[in-house]
């Protein structure tokens, strides 16, 4: 007799699901259209696996970005069943039962180039706009060693260092859909990471950039961003803290 049961039906019972994918081929189509594929998957497969199954065995023209396949590179943010997530971080069994249909479409608010691939340039332009780098013009420590920082000061901005620039947050934000000029939650998260770093000296400039009309004040605290963030970053809170710094002039 076997000492353990073979793990969960999980590993043995394949299931059939339909994937309804929003397709767009810039070389032939004028408008995007929906296409449905039926694939056999294991319940523990990721949505990414199902997309690969289609791409590799049914229709090679399906275009998507992906790399790491375990939720740390930020390539494959897409809208799955109406909500932004990473295709490689959601298991089929968590969103569908045998025979269900799963909808997959590109993230919203950035121009679609092909199928699930959008133009990320506007997103990265916002990122670059908030000075996403440490500024410290003091001379380096004379002993040639590291700048010091207390564990509490380090902890202060820990949450926002996790960002992988996947754009799931920014493209889940109604303010961003309405107006692409809004810097968006991801850029604010990046600014937060430096504003609250005790080693940094450019908080003033960053806050000034963020106080512009299309800066933090465009955030209507919708909270979609926090819900979408695959890294579990408290995005809305970070935005709130930036607003607080702007309001009070105190960074703590």
């Amino acid at each position: 007799m076997r000492a353990f049961p073979i793990l969960g039906a999980a590993f043995s019972i394949p299931m059939k699901i339909n994937l309804k994918i929003k397709r767009f081929n810039p070389e032939t189509d004028k408008k995007p259209h929906w296409e449905t594929y039926t694939v056999e998957v294991e319940p523990t497969d990721r949505v990414l696996d199902a997309l690969h199954e289609i791409k590799w065995n049914q229709d090679g023209t399906l275009a998507l970005r992906r790399s790491c396949a375990h939720g740390v590179c930020g390539s494959d943010a897409m809208r799955i069943n109406g909500r932004n997530m990473l295709a490689c971080k959601v298991l089929i069994q968590n969103i569908a039962k045998d025979g269900d249909t799963v909808t997959v479409e590109p993230i919203l608010g950035l121009p679609v180039i092909k199928d699930l691939i959008v133009d990320m340039e506007p997103f990265f332009a916002h990122y670059r706009a908030v000075m996403p780098y440490l500024v410290n013009n003091d001379p380096l420590p004379e002993n040639g060693r590291e700048r010091l920082q207390s564990p509490a000061d380090r902890e202060r901005y820990d949450d926002t260092t996790k960002c992988i620039l996947c754009a799931a947050c920014t493209t889940s934000c109604p303010s961003f859909w309405a107006r692409g000029e809004y810097v968006g939650p991801a850029a604010i998260v990046q600014a937060h990471r430096f504003i609250f770093d005790s080693r940094d000296q450019a908080a003033q400039q960053r806050l000034e950039i963020l106080s512009a009309q299309d800066g933090v004040w465009r955030c209507r605290t919708v909270f979609n961003c926090t819900e979408a963030c695959p890294r579990g970053i408290q995005v809305t809170k970070a935005i709130g803290e930036v607003k607080e710094a702007l309001r009070t002039g105190i960074i703590q």
């Binding site: 000061d153 005790s198 908080a203 003033q204 000034e208 009309q213 800066g215 004040w217 309001r247 002039g249």
Partner: protein, 152 residues
Amino acid sequence: MASTTVTPGRTVRKVQPIPQTRNRLELALWMFMRYSGLALVFLALSHFWMQHVLIGTHEIEFAGTQLRWGITGQPVTVEQLIWRAYYAVMLILAVAHGINGVRQVAYDYFGHRPATYKGLMYVVVAIAAIISLGGILALFMGAAAGGEAALR
């Protein structure tokens, strides 16, 4: 600073207030939305419950309004003055809050068309100004006018 020790705990830093006027306006309006909203919770809800729920719309009569505002032609009482102030504050806050709310929404959807956005806002502000000016006048200068009206 190239210091060789570190103070435990969290550093607090200060920044200058943001200088550009336009940016300060966004901040000010943002604050206004929050504080006026909180004030309106009491003003608007109490008003609504009083008039629409406790009294009930069906019982509202012109005479009641005349009495509360003091536009019956009789000398104005302190109580009536307090009612007038209550309505005036509520009116100003609600209109300002509403206008800025509309501005936010309009900026979202028409901001990419500056001319449309501006035109729309002129219209909204103009209508709101006329209506609320009318409202204020009705409250405070209504004594005389109201007196006449009451006689009619």
